[in-house]
Symmetry: C2
Subunit: 243 residues, 2 copies
C-alpha cells in the first residue's frame, strides 16, 4: 500500500515579507519521512481569510493530510480559525475544553481570560483538539486538516502529540554519497542507475567546496534492499573510470 500523502500550509505575512525564516516546513518534512507520510507540496500564504481558505480547500481535496502552521494567536492578524471554519462551512465558537486548556496554562487562571485570549478557545464545529504543552492554547484537527501554531517550539510540541496518533506508512530510507566530481561528469551514469531502479528516487545536489564543484547524491525509497543496491552503484562513481 502506498504511503499516505500530505501537504503543508504555512500561514503568515512575516515569512513572505522576509522578516522571519520559516523553520516549521523543514521540521515537518523530517518528521513525516520518519513516520512514512509523503509530503508532496507546501504553500506559504499571507494572513488573508480568503487566501487561507482557498488554499486549505485545494490541498485537503488532493492529499490525505494537510498540516498548517501560524495564525491561531489572540491578535487581530490571527485569522486562521475564521478561514478554516469558512473553508469547511461550519460555525466557529468558544468551546469549553479549549477554554479549560487556556485557563490551566495561565498563572492567574480564569481572571486573565480577557476577550482576546478567549478568541484562542474558538474551535470550528466538529474539530478535535491538539494539545499544546508549551503555552496552553490548543490546535485542532478538523477532518484531514491539522491546525497548529507558528511559534516553532509550540509547532514542534503539537506535532509530536499529533503524529503519535496518526497512521503512517513505511519510513523512507535515505543514503547520501558525496562525490568529489562535478554533476556534469556523473550525470550520464546517474541517469542509468535511476532507470535501473525505478522504485527509488535518486537526487543530485551540486556543491562548491573551495571552488571545486562536487555532487551530493541522495538515494531514497521505502525498500531497504533497493536503496542499498542503488547506493552501492552510486558509490562506484566516486572514482572516475579509466578513460
Amino acid at each position: 500500500m502506498p504511503n499516505p500523502t500530505a501537504a503543508m500550509l504555512v500561514i503568515g505575512d512575516e515569512i513572505l515579507s522576509g522578516r522571519t525564516q520559516d523553520s516549521n516546513l523543514h521540521l515537518l518534512s523530517k518528521r513525516l519521512s520518519e513516520v512514512g507520510i509523503d509530503l508532496r507540496e507546501a504553500r506559504v500564504v499571507p494572513d488573508t481569510e480568503a487566501g487561507i481558505s482557498e488554499a486549505v480547500n485545494q490541498l485537503r481535496s488532493r492529499y490525505d493530510h494537510v498540516f498548517t502552521s501560524g495564525g491561531i494567536g489572540p491578535t487581530h492578524d490571527d485569522i486562521t480559525s475564521d478561514a478554516i471554519a469558512r473553508a469547511f462551512g461550519v460555525a466557529l465558537d468558544v468551546r469549553e475544553d479549549a477554554l479549560q486548556a487556556l485557563i490551566a496554562a495561565y498563572p492567574g487562571g480564569r481572571k486573565h481570560l480577557n476577550p482576546e485570549r478567549r478568541r484562542m478557545a474558538r474551535v470550528p464545529d466538529g474539530a478535535e483538539l491538539i494539545a499544546n504543552p508549551v503555552s496552553g492554547a490548543p490546535g485542532y484537527t478538523i477532518e484531514n486538516v491539522h491546525v497548529m501554531a507558528g511559534v516553532p517550539a509550540v509547532f514542534e510540541a503539537m506535532l509530536g502529540g499529533l503524529l503519535a496518533g496518526l497512521d503512517g506508512g513505511q519510513p523512507v530510507l535515505a543514503k547520501s554519497v558525496r562525490i568529489e566530481r562535478p554533476e556534469g561528469e556523473i550525470a550520464k551514469d546517474l541517469g542509468k542507475i535511476a532507470r535501473a531502479f525505478p522504485q527509488v528516487s535518486i537526487g543530485s545536489y551540486p556543491y562548491y567546496g573551495d571552488g571545486i564543484p562536487g555532487s551530493n547524491v541522495v538515494v531514497r525509497g521505502t525498500d531497504q534492499a533497493s536503496v542499498r543496491q542503488a547506493s552501492a552503484r552510486v558509490r562506484r562513481l566516486v572514482v572516475p573510470r579509466e578513460q
Copy 2:
C-alpha cells in the same frame, strides 16, 4: 500605483523530504521588499513535470512575476526546463548563446561539453537569458516567469542581475517593537491601532524568552509617515497603563 506582485516556486524533492532546508525563499522575500515588489505566495513542489507546469501556470496568471528556484542542472532529476516549456506550450532547444556561456565557464572549454552538460543550454523558445556569474549555466526569463538555479550562491547571483533590470515599486518600510508583555495582554490595543491605520500592516509575533512570554510587533507599509505614527502608538504599549 500599487506595487507589482510576485510568487515564488521552489522546485525540489530535497526540500519536501527534509534533506535540505530551503533558504532561497527567505533571500527572495528580503530582496523583493527592498525593491517594492510584493511577494504574495510561495509554493514548494517536487521534481515532477506535471506538478511544476501546473503550478507555474496557476501562479503566472495570478501575479506580475513568478520566481522559480531549482531543477536546471545536468542530471536526470533536473526537469524544470521541460516543465516550463510544457507550461508555455513552446519548444525547448539548445541555444547558441547559452552554450557559449557554458563553454566560457569550463576550464576545458568545448571539449568538456558532454550531452548532459549540453542539456543545461536548452532554453524554451522566446526566453531571455539570466547570467550566472558563479558557474556559467544560465537561467532565463520567459514572459513573467524567471527561472533560476537552486544552489543558494547561484540563485543569489542570478537574482542580483535580474532585479537590477526589473521595475519595482515603493520599498516597504518596517519598524519592529519588542514588548515584554504577552500577546493576550496587548491584543486589544493592537487591534485598535490596526483599525486606525488601515494603510499599514501590523503583525504580532510571540516569543518565549527564559520562559517569559513577550511579543514582537512589526509595523510595515510603504508610507513613511503612517509607519512612523503607527509604530509610535505601538511603542506606548511597552509599559502597561495603570489599572
